[in-house]
C-alpha cells in the first residue's frame, strides 16, 4: 500500500495584491521524509510553507495536512479545528520569535500546559528532555535576550517539538544567523531527520539539502520548477533556470 503524504498541496495559488506569489503549486511531503524547498528570494517558497499551517490563506487550490483539509478553494478550516490542527504542525521561523517575557523553560512549556493540559511538572520534564536534545539543558532558566542566535533557534525548535507535532515546518531557519552559528542549528535538524521526523524545510543551505533531504524542490516565480532526490536536482538539474540558480548560489562571486 502506498503511503499517504502528510502534507499535500494541489494547484495552490496566492496573490498579495496584484503580485501573484504562488501560481499553481503542487507539493508533497511523505511521512518521515525531509522535503527541502530551495529557490531565489521572491520565488514563493516561504509563502508556500506559511500556507501549510494557515498563517497565509491560499486563494485557490487545496492543502491536505495531517489527514485534514486545511484549505480548499480559499475556504479555510474553521477556527477551532485550525487551532487543533496547528498543535500537530510545528513551525520554526527565520527570526526565531521566542517569547521575550518568558524564560527558555516558559517558552517551551507554555503551549503544552495551556493546550495539551500537561501539568507544570510533566511539561517541565518533557522540556528538559528536549533541551538536552538540542544541547541547551543548562539554559532552562535563561531569558531569550541573553542567548545567541543559534541558541535561540535551538530553543525555538524545542518549543515546537514540545507539542509533539507530526510534521515540522522550517522557514529559512538559519538565514538570520551568523555563519559560525549555522552549523549547530543544522546539526539539530539533521538529528531530528535521523529520528524520522517529517520535515519541510525552506532554506538556502545547499549542504543541508544535499546531505539530509530526501526530496529537493526548486521554486521560481511561484511555480515548482523541478523536484527530485538531491543527487539528481542539485547535480544534474533538467531545468535551465535551476542550473542558473545553483550556479549563483554555489559561486556567488
Amino acid at each position: 500500500m502506498a503511503l499517504e503524504p502528510i502534507v499535500s498541496a494541489r494547484g495552490l495559488t496566492k496573490s498579495f495584491g496584484p503580485v501573484a506569489v504562488l501560481k499553481g503549486v503542487d507539493f508533497d511531503v511523505m511521512p518521515s521524509k525531509v522535503s527541502v524547498v530551495i529557490g531565489p528570494s521572491g520565488s514563493g517558497k516561504s509563502t508556500l510553507l506559511r500556507c501549510c499551517n494557515g498563517l497565509e490563506t491560499a486563494d485557490g487550490g487545496t492543502i491536505r495536512i495531517c489527514g485534514q483539509t486545511l484549505i480548499d478553494g480559499g475556504r479555510m478550516l474553521p477556527e477551532a479545528a485550525l487551532n487543533t490542527l496547528r498543535c500537530q504542525v510545528g513551525m520554526v521561523f527565520q527570526s526565531f520569535n521566542l517569547f521575550p517575557h518568558l524564560s527558555v523553560m516558559g517558552n517551551i512549556t507554555i503551549a503544552p500546559r495551556k493546550l495539551r493540559g500537561l501539568s507544570a511538572a510533566a511539561a517541565e520534564a518533557a522540556a528538559r528532555r528536549l533541551l538536552d536534545k538540542v544541547g541547551l539543558a543548562h539554559k532552562a532558566d535563561a531569558y531569550p535576550m541573553t542567548l545567541s542566535g543559534g541558541q535561540k533557534q535551538r530553543v525555538a525548535i524545542a518549543r515546537a517539538l514540545a507539542m509533539e507535532p507530526q510534521v515540522m515546518l522550517f522557514d529559512e531557519p538559519t538565514s538570520s544567523l551568523d555563519p559560525e552559528l549555522v552549523g549547530e542549528v543544522l546539526q539539530v535538524m539533521k538529528d531530528l531527520a535521523a529520528e524520522g521526523m517529517t520535515m519541510m524545510v525552506v532554506t538556502h543551505e545547499m549542504g543541508f539539502a544535499r546531505q539530509v533531504a530526501d526530496t529537493v524542490s526548486v521554486m521560481d516565480h511561484g511555480v515548482v520548477l523541478e523536484s527530485g532526490p538531491p543527487a539528481q536536482v542539485l547535480v544534474e538539474p533538467t531545468e535551465a533556470r535551476t542550473r542558473q540558480f545553483l550556479q549563483r548560489v554555489l559561486n556567488p562571486i
Binding site: 477556527e79 487551532n83 498543535c87 520569535n97 517569547f99 521575550p100 517575557h101
Partner: protein, 221 residues
C-alpha cells in the same frame, strides 16, 4: 513686596484634606480610565470588525475632540436637565475616567500594535486561539511599553483634576481657593498648592519608573 504664608500654615488641615480628595478623584479616574482604555483599545485593533471598531472610534473621536471642562459641566450641570442628578464626586471621577479612557485606549492600541507580528504568529502556530495568544503572549509584552505613555497620562490627570474644584468638589485647588477668599493671599496659597501637585505628580512618575524597571528585569527589552 511682602510674603505672608501664615494663611497656608493656618489652613494646613484643609489643604491636606483637599490633597486627599485630589488623590481619591484622580485614582478613581485612573482606574476607570484604564478599564475603559483597555476595552476601547482592544476594540480598535481590527478595522474589519466594523461595528466594534466604529463604536470605539466614535468614542475616542468624541471624547478627545471636546474639552474636559465642558464634559465635566455636562455631567454635573447638563444631565440634571434630564432628571439625572449625580453627586459631584461621582461626576468628577466618571467624567475624568471617561475622558482619560480615550487617551489610554490609544496607548493600549499603540503598545499592542508595536509588538512584532512574529510573536502572534509564533503563538498561533503553536495552536493557541487568538484570545489566548493575546492574553499570554502579546499583552504581557505590550504592558511594559505602555508604562511611559501611561505615566504621562496619569500625571496629566492629576493636574487636570484641579478642574473638579469647579464642580464644588473640595479638592486641593478648591480648599486653596477657600483660604484665598478669606485671606486674599493668592500668590502664597497658589504656590503652596502648586508645590503639593508637584510632589504628587513627581512621586507618580518615580513610582512608574520603579514598576517599569521591575517588569523589565523579567527579561523584557
Amino acid at each position: 513686596m511682602d510674603f505672608d504664608f501664615s494663611p497656608v500654615w493656618g489652613g494646613w488641615r484643609e489643604l491636606l484634606h483637599g490633597a486627599f480628595v485630589t488623590i481619591e478623584v484622580t485614582l478613581g479616574a485612573i482606574i476607570l480610565g484604564c478599564l475603559i482604555g483597555l476595552v476601547i483599545g482592544l476594540g480598535r485593533l481590527d478595522p474589519r470588525r466594523r461595528v466594534v471598531f466604529g463604536l470605539c472610534t466614535a468614542y475616542v473621536s468624541f471624547i478627545r475632540g471636546t474639552p474636559l471642562l465642558v464634559q465635566l459641566f455636562i455631567w454635573f450641570f447638563g444631565l440634571p436637565h434630564f432628571g439625572l442628578n449625580f453627586p459631584a464626586f461621582f461626576c468628577g471621577i466618571v467624567g475624568m475616567g471617561i475622558y482619560s479612557g480615550a487617551y489610554v485606549s490609544e496607548i493600549v492600541r499603540g503598545a499592542i500594535q508595536s509588538i512584532e507580528r512574529g510573536q502572534m504568529e509564533a503563538a498561533r502556530s503553536l495552536g493557541m486561539p487568538y484570545r489566548m495568544a493575546m492574553r499570554e503572549i502579546v499583552v504581557p509584552q505590550a504592558v511594559v511599553r505602555m508604562i511611559p505613555p501611561l505615566g504621562n497620562e496619569f500625571i496629566a490627570l492629576i493636574n487636570y483634576s484641579s478642574l473638579v474644584s469647579l464642580l464644588t468638589i473640595a479638592d486641593l485647588t478648591h480648599e486653596g481657593q477657600k483660604i484665598i477668599s478669606t485671606s486674599y493671599r493668592s500668590l502664597e496659597v497658589y504656590l503652596a498648592i502648586a508645590l503639593v501637585y508637584f510632589v504628587l505628580t513627581n512621586l507618580t512618575g518615580l513610582g512608574l519608573r520603579l514598576v517599569e524597571r521591575r517588569l523589565r528585569a523579567g527579561g523584557l527589552v
